[in-house]
């Protein structure tokens, strides 16, 4: 099914494309970001739409989408949480943070695999995944909730309460 892109979104995308006067292909990431921001994830239709928009073979877009964990290929929860997994945060307790969030948000991560790294709560409100180093190693454990950054996260209940 062709993706229905609202005209405002398309205008914003067209504007992004002008940032790449030498090659439209360069706009693959920005276009995908705009689409993901609007639709929550990148599905096959979004890949096809992007390919058509940038006059590329769809595989060239899919190659990019699947490379980057920043592009989700399935619907996340309303609030998508990314907990930093890497060394300094792990030393500061990010695995414990992950466990705690999952417990309090009702997320079961047992089905998580390399290809399917995101777990969603039963009510669809929260989804979670580990992210690699979020570059705030001095204030771990850290996480992103949608686009909001949180550091030294200790109070999980307080965090979840902000996103209700």
């Amino acid at each position: 099914m062709p993706l229905e892109v609202p005209s405002e979104l398309e205008k914003s995308i067209d504007d992004r494309i002008t940032h790449y006067p030498v090659s439209k292909r360069s706009a693959v990431l920005p276009v995908l970001h705009e689409l993901q921001h609007h639709f929550g994830f990148i599905n096959e239709d979004a890949v096809e739409w992007t390919a058509a928009k940038l006059e590329l073979e769809p595989i060239k877009v899919l190659e990019v989408v699947t490379f980057y964990p920043g592009f989700r290929q399935s619907a996340p929860g309303k609030y998508h949480i990314r907990v930093c997994r890497t060394l300094s945060c792990a030393m500061a307790g990010s695995y414990e943070l992950m466990e705690s969030i999952c417990e309090k948000a009702g997320i079961d991560r047992s089905g998580v695999t390399h290809h399917d790294p995101i777990a969603v709560s039963a009510d669809g409100k929260y989804s979670i995944e580990f992210a690699e180093c979020l570059a705030s190693c001095g204030s771990g454990p850290v996480c992103l909730v949608n686009d909001d950054f949180h550091e030294e996260v200790k109070d999980v209940e307080g965090l979840l309460k902000k996103y209700n």
Binding site: H19, Y20, P21, V22, S23, R25, S26, A27, V28, L29, P30, L32, H33, L54, L56, K60, E63, V64, F67, Y68, P69, G70, F71, R82, R85, T86, L87, S88, A90, M91, A92, Y95, E99, R109, S110, V112, T113, A131, E132, C133, L134, A135, S136, C137, G138, S139, G140, L144, D147, D148, F149
Partner: protein, 482 residues
């Protein structure tokens, strides 16, 4: 030295001296710090708007620099000896000089804001709190290398910083610091923010360029694809780190020679050290390069180790830097100047850390105390690299995951002593055999951890295990490591 710096700053005619600046309570710089790049980070009453920046004398250096000839700007940067703050420590002025002299193609400049080396968290604060400093540094750098189109390649995990930068760019445009005929000098420049999507490999400059071209960020082979000659769209391209580009502003302000008086010879300027791990006060500290030792950094600036804990190891320059063991002895200096020092006395500069067998890298210092299992630390690092390997070339693609799988077993008590030998050999089979420096980045931790902690790693093995292939997925989950 700190006083010298102040004197120089005043001599250079700066409008503000540091003493005028107040910092947010609880976030004051440590007295050992020399705040140049981070002057405005956590500054009281400071905001990222252009109004605030201009009030503080912002964009004056842009005006000054654009009155110079481009080669004069280049020369100042070369004289300053500014070494790249992204990881490799390559002199920026020399890099700029690699653009072919007879070049007729457009030149591009890319600001590498992919800050993704574990342990590093400095560019984040520049972009969040002082975006115009970066833009001013970029305009000067673009002018110096003849670029009229520049991109800030920022990692996707910095969504707020991307917005702040875009706003700052719009403001700079409005004030005539970007766009056509900047400040009536005839110099044109557009800067765009380009967001990544979660890939460490995009910090590698040719991987970044491929990503910016809309392709999978597979690093290019060098030769022939040296970015300064064949970079973005196969045109000469300069890729510099955020902190590096910011320094250009200060070099123009002070003059290359004066700027070079800060820091140490061949290790000039200030740099931001990011300390994380097992210290009381982790954080970012801007110091003159080589002016503080590891001991001063950990014990004085960072408040020391946690109570009752002893230092076990330090990873001094981001997670790919080779680990230093707490009780190691290091030989620095050459000939008659050679001396043996211990870890506490290592001055934090490029050359000394290299002489100690590691590197200053991206300035990310990860401190590991005696409560940590070395196997666990190494496994965490290996998991990072296995996740981030782009998969383009064979040794890294197959080796990084293999190393992770061995250390997975190690932390679960399912590895044999021979596995340590295999692990070491896998690392050596990656090191130096790959397209890009990721090969070293992912093999150096394993190589150095085994070289320095073989006993401890072996202690986690079981000699009665042999030959089994184990299914680790469920066990890793059970151990809370998935």
């Amino acid at each position: 030295m700190w006083k010298d710096f102040l004197k120089n700053t005043i001599k250079a005619g700066k409008k503000l001296v540091m003493s005028d600046i107040r910092y947010i309570k609880g976030k004051e710089p440590h007295p050992r710090e020399t705040r140049v790049i981070f002057k405005n980070v956590d500054r009281e009453g400071w905001d990222p708007s252009i109004a605030c920046y201009l009030k503080d004398g912002g964009y004056e250096m842009l005006k000054k620099g654009l009155k110079m000839k481009p080669d004069e700007v280049r020369e100042e940067v070369k004289t300053a000896g500014l070494r790249g703050r992204g990881g490799a420590g390559f002199p920026a002025g020399v890099k700029w000089g690699f653009i072919p002299p007879n070049n007729e193609k457009p030149v591009y400049l890319i600001c590498n804001a992919d800050e993704s080396e574990p342990g590093t968290f400095k560019d984040r604060y520049i972009m969040h709190q002082d975006p115009h400093q970066l833009i001013e540094g970029m305009v000067l750098s673009c002018y110096a290398v003849g670029a009229h189109l520049a991109y800030i390649y920022i990692r996707e995990e910095f969504p707020e910083a991307a917005q702040i930068l875009e706003k700052a760019i719009a403001e700079a445009h409005e004030k005539g610091f970007l766009g056509k005929d900047i400040q009536g000098t005839g110099f044109d420049l557009e800067i765009y923010v380009h967001r990544g999507a979660g890939a460490y490999i995009c910090g590698e400059e040719t991987g970044l360029i491929e990503s910016l071209e809309g392709k999978r960020p597979y690093p290019r082979i060098k030769p022939p694809y040296f970015p300064a000659a064949m970079g973005l769209y196969l045109c000469p391209t300069i890729v510099n780190n955020v902190e590096t580009l910011c320094h250009v502003k200060h070099i123009i302000e002070m003059g290359g020679a004066e700027w070079a008086k800060t820091g140490k010879p061949n290790n000039t300027g200030t740099r931001i050290l990011c300390v994380s791990g097992d210290v009381k006060k982790p954080g970012y500290y801007e110091v003159q390069v080589g002016h503080v030792t590891m001991g001063e950094l950990i014990n004085d600036i960072c408040g020391g180790l946690k109570d009752g804990r002893k230092l076990k190891a330090v990873i001094p320059g981001g997670s790919s830097a080779k680990v230093l063991r707490a009780d190691e002895k290091f030989t620095i200096g050459k000939g008659d100047d050679a001396k043996e020092i211990d870890i506490w006395d290592i001055p934090m500069d490029f050359d000394t850390l290299a002489a100690c067998g590691s590197m200053a890298g991206s300035g990310g210092v990860i401190v590991i105390d005696d409560s940590r299992s070395i196997s666990w630390v190494l496994n965490n690092i290996n998991a990072f690299y296995a996740h981030e390997s782009c998969g383009q070339c064979t040794p890294c693609r197959e080796g990084s995951l293999w190393m992770k799988k061995i250390t997975d077993r190690l932390v679960l008590g399912k590895a044999s002593p021979e596995d340590i030998d295999t692990l070491e050999s896998v690392a050596y089979n990656i090191d130096g055999k790959t397209i890009c420096a990721f090969g070293e980045a992912c093999s150096w931790p394993t190589e150095s951890f085994i070289a320095k902690f073989r006993d401890e790693l072996t202690a986690d093995t079981k000699s009665d295990l042999s030959g089994d292939i184990v299914n680790l997925e469920s066990e890793l989950a059970a151990a809370g490591l998935k």
